[in-house]
């Protein structure tokens, strides 16, 4: 039997972030109805317009049907069997490390976030002169427990805070932009999110400001039987620049948990938003039991001329991923980018890709997608490139490569290309293959173990995407790829 064909019957992959934190929680009763929505809104001390927005979304959601076009398969979700609000009882935002709930501290330690960053997460601001600086918003189930560097950022006019706070403190900005990129009834999960979203990050970069540090949000689902519905909104005014990172993990449980996020990005003239994700939700066990259903709507609007939105994602977690970070390229010469690595093993299912909607003259987009399937998983790239008649001189280049490890998995490519302007140029290429035996042998002849050889080759395969990640993240992502594929090679 050939080397790569010798796939194990899926050794339990070691999900190192699967522990649970025992912390006293404020939990809404199970179920979804107007009262629950009112309760969430009340807990968040929201103004009336926000509650009305939620109720409108809920009414729309009730009339919608769960989408079934993706290549994913799961038993029906009982939306009444979830908690829609879960928050640690201790007040968020302590002044020093000592005031933070020790269980929370322990959790961040266990998640392996570096000590300095951990101090940041727990709400203690270290010496701002130390580099590199990363501001962090830590979202634990339904609430943000800490957001760091807010003072430093506010000095240059950057707003970085939990979105629930922005609803109260910056209502004009939130009312103007929330739902302006992903309308309430855009799709089933976005409507659900609009009705029940609990927390997430809000970022506002004023005109001409280059955000002095990376911003990041760390999402953690902890409570049992809860759904996490985060909402993120990033606005970059003319000439502004920001790089934002998100990471996510969850405990290892036998039941499936729902995560339905909405992320909206808005870039004005000459603004740049770089959005990077390392998605590592619990993927379920080797038999496909448990894991997060990750049904996410991410969309950016390049409203300004020469604006740019760049999505980079490394997707290794979740039982099911349904996610298409997209760009609506309205501004002239605006730029959209999508760089993706999606790894599926065991029984994971990923249906992910992007939409590039070209409206503006001279708008251009680049799509690089690398899918790696192992075990009994299915990995689908689904993407749309649409050139509207107004998009004279638009350009798209798409490269989709799939790698299969073992003969029990599937790799699928479903691109849609629609062009209504002859001056536009669209190029799409896709390949599917396995790791070449001669590459493996070459590495092993030089002394590498088969697993190391596979890692090396897979990392090479993903290089084009990984190099788009901020440095600190790239290293983490490489390690994550190796861990995810552990046990996939015979």
């Amino acid at each position: 039997m050939s080397a790569t064909a010798e796939i194990l019957d899926s050794v339990q992959s070691s999900y190192k972030w699967g522990f649970e934190t025992d912390i006293e929680m404020d939990l809404a009763p199970k179920g979804l109805n107007e009262d629950i929505i009112r309760l969430i809104s009340a807990r968040k001390e929201e103004p009336l317009w926000m509650l009305e927005y939620r109720l409108k979304a809920f009414a729309a959601w009730l009339k919608m049907e769960e989408p079934d076009w993706a290549r994913v398969d799961h038993p029906p979700i009982d939306y009444q069997d979830l908690h829609y609000y879960a928050a640690p009882k201790k007040k968020a935002g302590p002044k020093s490390l000592d005031e933070v709930d020790p269980e929370l501290l322990k959790m961040y330690e266990k998640l392996g976030i570096p000590l300095k960053e951990r101090a940041i997460l727990a709400g203690v601001e270290p010496d701002p002169n130390e580099r590199p600086q990363i501001a962090v918003d830590a979202v634990f189930d339904s609430v943000s427990v800490a957001t760091t560097f807010r003072e430093t950022l506010s000095k240059v006019g950057v707003i970085f805070c939990p979105i629930s706070e922005a609803v109260r403190d910056h209502p004009d900005l939130v009312r103007e932009y929330l739902g302006s990129v992903v309308p309430v009834a855009d799709n089933y999960f976005s409507a659900l999110n609009a009705a029940v979203f609990t927390d997430g990050s809000f970022v506002y970069i004023p005109k001409g400001v280059r955000c002095p540090m990376e911003l990041s949000t760390y999402f953690r689902i902890n409570a049992r039987n809860t759904g996490q519905f985060e909402r993120t909104l990033i606005i970059a005014e003319a000439g502004a620049h920001v790089s934002y990172l998100e990471g996510c993990t969850a405990p290892q449980r036998d039941e499936n948990q729902l995560h339905a996020a909405v992320v909206e990005l808005i870039a004005m003239d000459d603004a740049t938003i770089k959005y990077s994700t390392v998605q590592n939700w619990y993927p379920g066990d080797a038999d496909g039991k448990g894991g997060i259903y990750n049904f996410v709507t991410k969309r950016g609007a390049c409203r300004g001329d020469r604006s740019k939105i760049s999505w980079t994602q490394v997707e290794t977690g979740s039982a099911i991923t349904w996610k298409y970070p997209s760009c609506v390229l309205i501004g002239e010469d605006s730029v959209g980018e999508f760089y993706s690595v999606a790894v599926t093993t065991n029984h994971q299912q990923a249906d992910t890709g992007t939409k590039m909607i070209h409206v503006g003259k001279g708008s251009s987009s680049t799509i690089v997608s690398k899918g790696i399937s192992a075990g009994k998983s299915n990995n689908t790239y689904r993407g749309l490139v649409r050139i509207l008649p107004s998009a004279a001189g638009a350009r798209n280049h798409t490269q989709c490569d799939s790698l299969l490890i073992g003969d029990e998995c599937g790799a699928h490519t479903v691109p849609y290309i629609e062009s209504r302007n002859r001056t536009a140029k669209v190029e799409h290429e896709a390949t599917t293959s396995k790791i070449a035996e001669d590459q493996l042998f070459y590495c092993r002849q030089r002394g590498l173990s088969e697993e190391d050889a596979v890692n090396l080759i897979v990392n090479g395969f993903c290089k084009e995407v990984l190099k788009e990640l901020p440095m600190e993240f790239a290293v983490e992502a490489q390690k994550l790829l190796a861990v995810s594929l552990e046990g996939s090679v015979g």
Partner: protein, 409 residues
């Protein structure tokens, strides 16, 4: 995404009710097909059921059309060996072809078509009145057989063709579809290629400007066999060429090449699925669209590789040239792969004529219109060159040139 209507379907169902006792044979299958057609409806109407297979093509114009009858009196044979007028075999216009029988004489439906899934196949199964049944015995090279269809007036016809190549047999089948009127031509062709047999299937679709042409072809290829298909699509108002090829034996080959040259408000949909069910198969596809006027070209192509179809080699290229500001292309090349030791790839490009190439030619003294003709022909050559029979390729090239001259005029 297109919705499916059952509105326009009613007329066809009424027609079936009226004709069911006079249609040749297969009563139970026709009744079942009618049930499927009733449930599936015509893609693209208003009743709201979504169909991914018909995402880019709506048959609403068909649903709204009225098919009153044929005007088949004054037609010429057009040089084909086997001539069908409005779907009915015309011995007076045909010559003798060994192995040929009329569908109407011994009606039987094969196992490949899926009236339960494909609405137009259901429509065909329900109403098929005639067709060509052609059998090439083992080891025989049957040369070229020309199968012509002529549509007239406002007729609606649903021919059912069966082409069977026995072990080691070979055949070049040249199908032409022409006519005059606002008719519907809805053929279903079942093809089986046995071990080591070789079918070259050339289709020249040059229907009348107002006609509907909705063809579905099923081809099953056994070990070592080859289905080598090429479709040149020039005519019709709303057309669809749908090909399903199954490589059911080891080392089988399928080619599903084609070119669509469209102008005016023409809509042409080229949809294909090749299924690699057994190891060591090869599939190749090059489809070119040249779109002028306000025309719309659609390409949907899927390569499926089954779990144990190892060592599959699949390649698909789809390119579109938009010649006018209002032309539109929708392309969906798909890979669905369940085996790991495979080599599959696809590519798609969309754009206009290359300005630099154009300028280069003009700077060498070639007038603009000639330079364009040259480049369009070069673009199409990659597909046309895949037709290996020189005489047939010459016929196709001549049609392409004539098409281009009409555009320039």
């Amino acid at each position: 995404m297109s919705a499916i209507s059952t509105m326009g379907a009613a007329g066809f169902l009424a027609r079936f009710e009226a004709l069911r006792d006079s249609l040749p044979g297969c009563a139970a299958e026709r009744a079942a097909a009618a049930e499927s057609f009733r449930a599936l409806g015509l893609p693209g109407g208003t009743s709201g059921r979504r169909s991914e297979a018909w995402k880019y093509t709506s048959l609403r114009p068909l649903a709204e059309a009225d098919f009153a009858g044929s005007t088949a009196d004054t037609v010429h044979g057009d040089g084909a060996d086997l001539v069908f007028v409005d779907g009915v075999f015309r011995p007076d216009l045909s010559t003798t072809v060994p192995g040929f029988t009329q569908f109407a004489e011994a009606p039987a439906f094969g196992p490949l078509p899926r009236p339960d899934r494909d609405p137009l196949v259901a429509l065909n199964t329900m109403l098929a009145a005639d067709g060509a049944v052609l059998r090439v015995p083992a080891g025989v090279n049957a040369g070229i057989v020309r199968l012509g269809s002529i549509g007239t007036g406002a007729s609606a016809f649903h021919p059912r063709h069966m082409i069977h190549l026995e072990q080691g047999a070979s055949l070049i089948l040249l199908e032409t579809a022409t006519g005059n009127g606002a008719y519907l031509h809805n053929p279903v062709t079942e093809i089986t290629v046995a071990e080591g047999a070789h079918l070259t299937h050339i289709r020249l679709q040059d229907e009348a400007t107002d006609a509907f042409h909705l063809a579905t072809i099923y081809a099953e290829v056994a070990e070592g066999g080859t289905y080598d298909g090429f479709s040149l699509i020039l005519g019709g108002r709303v057309t669809r060429t749908e090909i399903h090829a199954v490589l059911n034996g080891k080392s089988a080959t399928a080619h599903m090449n084609g070119a669509q040259l469209l102008t005016g408000t023409q809509h042409a949909d080229f949809t294909s699925v090749v299924r690699h069910a057994e190891p060591n198969g090869t599939s190749r596809q090059t489809v070119k669209n040249v779109l002028n006027g306000r025309s719309r070209g659609v390409f949907q192509g899927r390569i499926e590789v089954a779990r144990h179809a190892q060592k599959t080699d699949g390649y698909q290229m789809n390119q579109a040239l938009l010649l006018s500001p209002d032309a539109e292309i929708d392309s969906k090349p798909e890979l669905e792969i369940f085996a790991d030791d495979v080599k599959c790839s696809h590519g798609a490009t969309v754009g206009e004529l290359d300005a630099e190439q154009l300028f280069y030619l003009r700077s060498r003294g070639v007038p603009d219109s000639e330079a364009r003709a040259l480049l369009v022909r070069a673009f199409l050559a990659e597909a046309l060159d895949l037709v290996t029979d020189e005489a047939i390729r010459a016929i196709l090239e001549q049609r392409v040139d004539a098409w281009w001259e009409r555009q320039a005029a």
